[in-house]
Each structure stands twice: as C-alpha cells, then as structure tokens.
C-alpha cells in the first residue's frame, strides 16, 4: 500500500489514474458552468466555442476511460476471481 498511491513506475496504472482524475476535473468544470449558466446565460459558459472544446475533450476522455474500464472488466474476470480465491482464508495457494 505504501507505494501504490504514488507508484509512477507502473505506467498503465499512472495512465488510468491520471485519466480518471482529469475526467473528474472536467466533469466538475462542466457542472460549474452549467450552474453559472443558469444564473447568467449571457456569459455563454455553455455555448461558447471554448466551452464546446472543453465538452469535446470531456467526451473523448470519458470514452477512453469507459473503454479502459470495460476492457479491464472483460479481459480479467478470471484474474479477479483468482485474487478473490487467494484472499480466502485456508486456501492452499496462500501458502505458496
């Protein structure tokens, strides 16, 4: 656990963590603009060209994040099962 949070050597993990954080940040930004736009739509927080770029980036990142998640769940169900079995007490494989 010590190295997992800031484990920068595992590139695949870093990619997934960064992707998740950026997607979350852009989502919060979108929610913020949506709320501001309800109060003052003249500022065009939801309709400006820059906002449209933001939404596009958010959509692309969300899509990548979704694909990564789906692939992980699709490819590794056996591994996940194995891990669950390993963690069960009394399992012989725990001793190996």
């Amino acid at each position: 656990m010590k190295n997992k949070l800031f484990d920068f050597k595992n590139k695949r993990r870093v990619f997934r963590v960064v992707l998740a954080h950026i997607t979350a940040l852009l989502s919060v930004m979108t929610i913020t603009f949506f709320i501001i736009d309800r109060f003052n739509d003249a500022m065009e927080f939801m309709t400006s060209d820059l906002s449209k770029v933001l939404f596009l980036v958010l959509a692309v990142l969300s899509l990548i994040s979704s694909i990564v998640t789906i692939v992980c769940l699709w490819v590794n169900p056996d591994r996940i099962k194995k891990r669950k079995n390993i963690s069960q007490p009394g399992d012989k494989r725990n001793r190996v």
Partner: protein, 354 residues
C-alpha cells in the same frame, strides 16, 4: 493515518488543479484581450440613407431697377419692402426643435454640459434609495442633429483597451460600455451601418437604431432580421432585455439576471434625442445597483419611449470628457476590450458622400 494523509493530499491537488483550470478557462473565455474575428458581411454606404434635410433653394425676389423714369400716367407702385433673408431651416434629426440646446458653431464645455452646433450632452448624477439600499446613477441626456454623432467603436487591431481608452481615441464627449459582443459568439452585430454578425441569439431581445434616428427594441424571436436590414439599420445591439413595452415599464424580462447589479442602458425619446444611463453597483454604502424591474421603472420615469439594457456588472462604465466618472465594482476601470457607445461630433463628409 499515513494513507489518509495521502488521500487528503490527492484531494487537495485535485482541487488546486480544478481552481487552476477554472482560472485558465476564465482567462481565455472572457478576460484575455480579444480581437474581433468576425468579418464584415455587408458594407452599405454609411451615409446613403442619412436623413439630413436641407433648406430648399428659395428664389429671392429681384428688386425693381431704380433710376428708370416712369411714364406720367402711371402711378408708381409701392416698392415691396425688402423681405428679410430667409433663414435656412434647421436641419438634422431634431428639425427645428431644441434649438436652444445647440450653439451657432462653437463648442462649449460648461461643467456637466457640452454644447456645439450639432451635439448637446447634459450629464446629471443622482442618488436615490431603492428598497433601503443606496443607488448612484448617471444620466447623459443627448441631443444630436446628425446620426453619425452616435457611434460605436471597438478594438479591432490591438487588444487591451478599455472604454476610457476608446473614448479618448475617438474624441468622445460621453461614452458608455456597449453589449460586450467581442466576447460572445452569438447575437446580431451592426456597428456604424456595417453588419458584422447576423447569427442571432435565441434568448436575447435586440435593439436597433436606424439611420433616420428612430430606435426600436424587439423581443426575442419576434423579429425578422431581413426586415430590419431592409430598413437600413445604423446600430444593432444584442444583449437586453428590452426595458419598456409601448413606453410603459415592464415586470417580466428575457433575462436570468434580474437581481441588483451595476447597469448600463440606452434610452430613446425621439429621433435625435437619446439618453445613456449607467448605474453603479455592488458597493455597500455607495451604490448597490438596480434590479431589472427598477431599471425599467427608471427609464420610464426619465420619459423614454424605448429603452434597452446593455451589458452591466463589471462591464458597465461611463466616461465623460475623457474621465471615468462611474465607479465600476471591485475598483476596476471596466473590462478590457469592451465595445463602446459614444457621442461625438458628427463624421465629416466629403462632397462625394453627400
């Protein structure tokens, strides 16, 4: 414990990054110096339809030749008294009315009043209390004989200019902020007779000043741009909302910003007679601004028959005689790269243009 600290650290980093991204967005969205990227859609002759009436060419009566001896049986007819030289009819938007507002040619600054042959601006400051809050506002009462005295300017080449800079650069007597169209992508834009943008904003009323000096406001979705263009518009602003309906104050508006705010508005009495109003706000103890309904009532009490709200908040400022007279909130001098509505001496025309 250490793990919890790490989670807090990650959350803090996320929040810091979020704040940074929001600031970056705000900079690019509405703080960065802007240049107008739109193109001119049509360039009509700016003076083709200017309604400047001219004195009709009158024939002066020719005097009878003197010194010719008359026949003895003819009684001399009394010579007609010389008629005074016909004074040319006052020309321009106001016709002969409000002549006392103008001078014979000289330009005079008298405190809060400017008078010349073509322009008269009377500036007044007011302190009132609205719903137990102080409100300070400025009214520039404007009389012009030539529509080109009411112009709009915006930064075209170099960014980073405020209303004060543009007012100074263009010899403005009085100037206010406009509809801040540079930072928005929709809304019809006509400036000094040139159509720059025709993409309509679906939720905004518009205001059109025609070359004959009339000003009309239109509710969102209840106008045809082609009809407006056919009438030779001189200026069109897209912000709103419309503040008067048939000359009467309104209570419901096409806006989501109805609460107290600094305000800027343009009012219309008749061709050649307008007013610009700036209300300071967001400053406790000095001026808290006006709600939209109160602004509508103010324009009604000023006697306007049409009135239109322009961009308010930190955008709204008024400049008079090269000096910023209003107090924008947060101690600023208004936004950068805001378009301005200014009153100045009319554009001189060459013979060809006439």
């Amino acid at each position: 414990m250490r793990n919890k600290l790490k989670i807090v650290l990650v959350a803090f980093l996320d929040l810091a990054l979020l704040a940074g991204l929001l600031l970056l967005f705000a900079w690019f969205h509405h703080a960065r110096p802007q240049r107008f990227n739109g193109s001119v859609i049509n360039t009509p002759d700016p003076f083709a339809h200017t309604d400047v009436t001219r004195a009709p060419a009158t024939e002066t009566p020719t005097a009878a030749p003197t010194g010719t001896p008359l026949p003895p049986n003819v009684t001399p007819t009394p010579t007609p008294e010389p008629t005074p030289e016909p004074t040319p009819e006052p020309s321009g938007l106001l016709g002969g009315r409000f002549w006392e507002k103008f001078t014979d040619g000289e330009a005079i600054w008298e405190g809060n009043t400017y008078r010349s042959q073509n322009v008269c601006v009377e500036l007044t400051e007011h302190d009132i209390t609205v719903k137990n809050k102080p409100v300070h506002y400025f009214v520039a009462d404007i009389y012009i004989r030539d529509i080109t005295s009411l112009r709009c300017e915006f930064p075209t080449v170099d960014g980073g200019k405020r209303v004060l800079d543009l007012a100074k650069d263009n010899g403005a007597i009085v100037a206010t902020s406009g509809d801040y169209f540079l930072h928005r992508s929709r809304g019809v834009v006509i400036r000094n007779g040139v159509l720059y943008r025709e993409k309509l904003h679906s939720s905004q009323d518009i205001c059109v000043l025609y070359r004959d000096g009339t000003m009309e406001t239109y509710l969102k979705g209840k106008f045809n741009l082609n009809d407006i263009l056919a009438r030779s518009p001189y200026q069109a602003w897209s912000f709103g909302p419309r503040l008067l309906e048939n000359g009467l104050p309104m209570t419901e508006f096409n806006t989501t910003v109805e609460e107290r705010n600094p305000r800027c508005a343009i009012g219309y009495y008749e061709p050649g007679h307008y007013c610009l109003v700036v209300v300071d706000g967001r400053q406790e103890g000095y001026s808290m601004g006006l709600e939209m309904a109160d602004l509508s009532m103010l324009m009604y009490e000023l006697g306007c028959t049409e009135a239109y709200n322009l961009d308010g908040g930190s955008t709204s400022v008024m400049v008079y005689h090269d000096k910023l007279i209003s107090k924008p909130p947060y101690g600023g001098g208004g936004r950068y790269d805001c378009d301005v509505i200014l009153i100045a001496e009319p554009v001189e025309r060459s013979d060809n243009e006439e």
